[in-house]
């Protein structure tokens, strides 16, 4: 068997096997931000410097639907149709057509009818997709490939797998002013589509997260290893960034003898500082970080925790409470095509460049069309997931973007429809467009009125249109924004550790999120719950493990700890909504918030529970044995 480099740390050692011997090193690139020398000087000047060394464990996105591809080639027409679960087929179509199969894009159609979970991994082009498509074209026959779960574990890209070494310098008052972060990223054996960029662009854009720290140096070394590639997985760099900041803040609290909430209060970006430009040049428009945290403290009854700790102790359990504040960057690549179309039967179709694969877009877009145009909710249909019908600009759904780009696109299309509708209504009502009002689906001029349906019908009849106006009321917009949005939140986890077994049980979980304007609380809560579940999974049960030879040891659900219903308690999710000022709906993304907040909240809680043992940190996942071992080691240390 060939020698293998499995971890990024090992891969950078001089004598490590080289994944690509022709490069002579496993280091893909060394990226830096900031002035290293200045930051070193500042750190030396600090009243205190706190340090953390963290493993952000490799995890599997593991959507419940394993990967599947079917393809059919119509030789006479020269058309290729590919069915596969994706997060938006246009990119797959373009890559298949232009790069891989050298076909005209309009001869390649990618259809995702239902996608059984995306989580970032289903936005990617995979070799099997290309191979199945190629085979179908070569053979002239339909070809189908069903990946089973074991295959999915070794071929779906993994997530996270960073090593973070971070130092933060604070002044006498516990105010941080300088931050240095050195990150190793395990990219796997090849360069995936986005994996390389995640620490710097994904996470770096929001570091130092919710806190104002004027000086920052960031070093990122992506590293080849003999493992599956890593790439975007729910959060894609932001969970790692928030995790390291929150571990630093807890460390600082401990160092200064301050409560964990107090050290954060002293360092939050204040509302008066908005718009706040991050080191990498992103502008955070709004937020109420301290207020959001206070809500979480209040709803978790943080102040009275010690009494609950005592009750658990009486039962032989170690109770702990943990706090995490996080900030997110949502709505990446803010360009999307959205079409609103009036059908002959009175229905209205939203033809979306986004692609709903569980996010409930049909619900939310219908709600918006109803709100903006007064069309019955039940008459609105969502059409998406097929490059044969989707708008020309169709980026899909990822990065918590669809509320802003999809919702915003619906809004802009509806606005244009109303403008045009007023002109048509004016003619029908024998009035002037400037005197026509529109509300709740009805155009009015003086005492007479027509409905949106009347106007839509009239729009089809050239005789009823103002001179020179093109028929039809449909609108297509390419939504564009020059910025993302910045959801944030404070999560509190309360747990109990069984000191004899190391088992962590979650007793209470409070999430206060600022997702901006909440279009539909049901849908947003669903996203928050799901994100938290995946974050708790990373913190407690999930871990991709390779042996020294590069053999995957956690390649089935027998070995990979998928969180189950029994791992959680009821989640108490609330909002502290600060409308985003940079998009017309005021929305901020919700999809990835949970998995940013949960890992640091859980680790903080467990470390709090184990305080009496002098335990300051345990790397994720906090599996029973790891917690038990930490307790054993602390006992040995105490005895020594």
């Amino acid at each position: 068997m060939l020698p293998a480099a499995v971890s990024s740390v090992d891969a950078l050692k001089a004598d490590s096997p080289k994944v690509w011997p022709e490069f002579g090193t496993n280091e893909v690139v060394h990226w830096e931000y900031g002035e290293a020398a200045k930051v070193e000087t500042l750190l030396r000047s600090a009243h205190r410097v706190v340090k953390v060394d963290l493993v952000n464990n490799r995890i599997a996105p593991a959507p419940m639907e394993p990967r599947v591809v079917a393809a059919k080639y119509d030789a006479a027409e020269g058309r290729l149709t590919v069915w596969s679960p994706t997060q938006g087929g246009r990119r797959i179509q373009m890559m298949l057509a232009r790069t891989l199969l050298k076909m005209a894009p309009d001869k390649v159609r990618v259809i995702s009818i239902d996608t059984g979970g995306g989580f970032g991994v289903r936005s990617k082009m995979f070799p099997e997709t290309a191979m199945v498509a190629y085979a179908a074209r070569q053979l002239g026959r339909p070809v189908k490939w069903l990946g089973d779960r074991a295959e999915t574990f070794v071929s779906d890209y993994h997530g996270r797998d960073q090593i973070n070494h971070a130092q933060m310098g604070l002044d006498r008052d516990g105010k941080a002013f300088v931050l240095k972060v050195e990150t190793l990223l395990n990219v796997g054996a090849y360069l995936s589509e986005n994996g390389l960029r995640l620490p710097m662009e994904g996470g770096g854009r929001i570091i130092p997260c919710g806190y104002h720290i004027p000086d920052f140096y960031f070093s990122v070394k992506p590293t080849f290893t003999n493992t599956v590639c890593t790439d975007t997985y729910r959060g894609a760099g932001r969970p790692e960034a928030n995790y390291l900041m929150e571990r630093l803040m807890d460390k600082a609290a401990e160092t200064y003898g301050l409560p964990r909430e107090e050290i954060r209060r002293r360092n939050f970006i204040k509302p008066s500082q908005f718009p706040y430009k991050t080191h990498l040049g992103f502008v955070i428009d709004s937020g109420d970080f301290a207020g959001t945290m206070e809500m979480a403290l209040e709803h978790s009854n943080w102040a009275a925790f010690e009494e609950r700790r005592g009750r658990s102790a009486a039962r032989g359990k170690l109770r702990g409470i943990g706090l995490a504040f996080f900030i997110e960057g949502a709505g990446s690549r803010p360009v999307e095509g959205m079409r609103v179309r009036f059908e002959d039967n009175g229905d209205v179709s939203v033809i979306a460049g986004t692609y709903s694969h569980g996010q409930g877009h049909a619900t939310v877009y219908s709600q918006l069309v109803h709100e903006f145009l007064g069309v019955d909710y039940d008459k609105v249909r969502l059409i998406n997931g097929d490059t044969g019908t989707s708008p020309e600009v169709s980026n899909g759904t990822f990065g918590s973007r669809s509320s802003m780009v999809g919702g915003g696109g619906v809004k802009r299309a509806c606005d244009a429809i109303i403008v045009k509708g007023k002109k048509i209504a004016a003619r029908l009502l024998q009035s002037d467009a400037t005197r026509v009002t529109f509300e709740a689906g009805v155009f009015r001029a003086q005492t007479s009125s027509v409905t949106m349906a009347d106007v839509a019908a009239a729009a089809r009849d050239p005789n009823k249109l103002p001179d020179g106006m093109a028929p039809g009321l449909d609108e297509y917009v390419v939504y564009e924004n020059d910025t993302e949005n910045f959801p944030n939140g404070a999560h509190v986890a309360e747990i109990e550790v069984d000191p004899e077994t190391g088992v962590v049980e979650i007793l209470n979980y409070v999430a206060v999120d600022d997702c901006g304007v909440v279009l539909n609380p049901f849908i947003v809560h669903g996203q928050i719950y799901g994100g938290i579940a995946q974050g708790i999974g990373q913190a407690l049960t999930e871990n991709i493990v390779y042996d020294a030879e590069g053999q995957l040891l956690s390649g089935t659900f027998m070995d990979y700890g998928m969180p189950r219903a029994g791992h959680f308690s009821h989640i108490d999710a609330r909002f502290n909504a600060m409308p985003a000022k940079t998009n017309e709906l005021g929305v901020k993304g919700a999809g990835e918030a949970g998995c940013c907040g949960a890992p640091p909240a859980i680790v903080s809680a467990v470390v709090d529970a184990l305080g009496s043992y002098g335990i300051k940190h345990i790397d994720m996942p906090l599996s029973p044995e790891r917690v038990w071992r930490a307790i054993q080691e602390s006992r040995v240390n105490k005895a020594a």
Binding site: T541, F557, M558, D559, M562
Partner: protein
Amino acid sequence: MHNFNYHHAADIADAALKLKVTVEPKLLAGGMTLLPTLKNRLAQPSDLIDLAKIDGLKGISVEGKEVVVKAMTTHAVVAASTDVRKAIPALADLADGIGDPAVRHRGTIGGSVANSDPAADYPAGVLGLDAVVETNERKINADDFFTGLFETALKPGEIITAVRFKIPDRAHYMKFRHPASGYAVVGVMVAQYGAKVRVAVTGAGPNAFRVRAMEDALEKSFAPASVANIKIPAGDLLGDIHCSAEYRAHLVNVYARRCVEALVK
């Protein structure tokens, strides 16, 4: 999955005959272990002989001081049996915690015991409740039954027909679930029969085993403190990426003590 021939056995004699005349046969009970094994191509039997249609292999009865569970009785049936609940609540609890509800609806005691899967629950029950495994040919004492990892005293052609559990004065079963699979990492059955105590462990080792040192200590004094300091050597135990042998050894101690605590409470 590799293909195979499939047969229904009309009765036990028919099953025994089919075992003899086929090349590399396997008995199919609930299939909860066998089918995943076949799906992963870890076995390649020539023939499966399905016992499902043998009515005589199903049912539960209390006979004197024994509970008799016929081989094709499912875990769900054992868990829901008022007879079992009354006679040996620990056995009902054990059955009620195997796998998940869907698995309990299909998995059978005979299949579980015959397989000697180290992560199965029933072996701790069989060994701890001093059971006798009845086959079409003989009766095998629990102490002689589990011989190794996926190995038992069953001879080729032998078919389990029932498991006969001795009703204890009191007994308790607890298990530590595997963080990923949910199977038993350590399952401990503590049972008391007059002056005698049995402590049986599944999950931790290659096959279920008794902990004589704990039994001796509990026979002297049936109290949690008696087992609290009895360590199990980790050397013979299993380990995986979630639970090392050392950790399992520790858990045996914790769970044995907790069983006793539950019984004296």
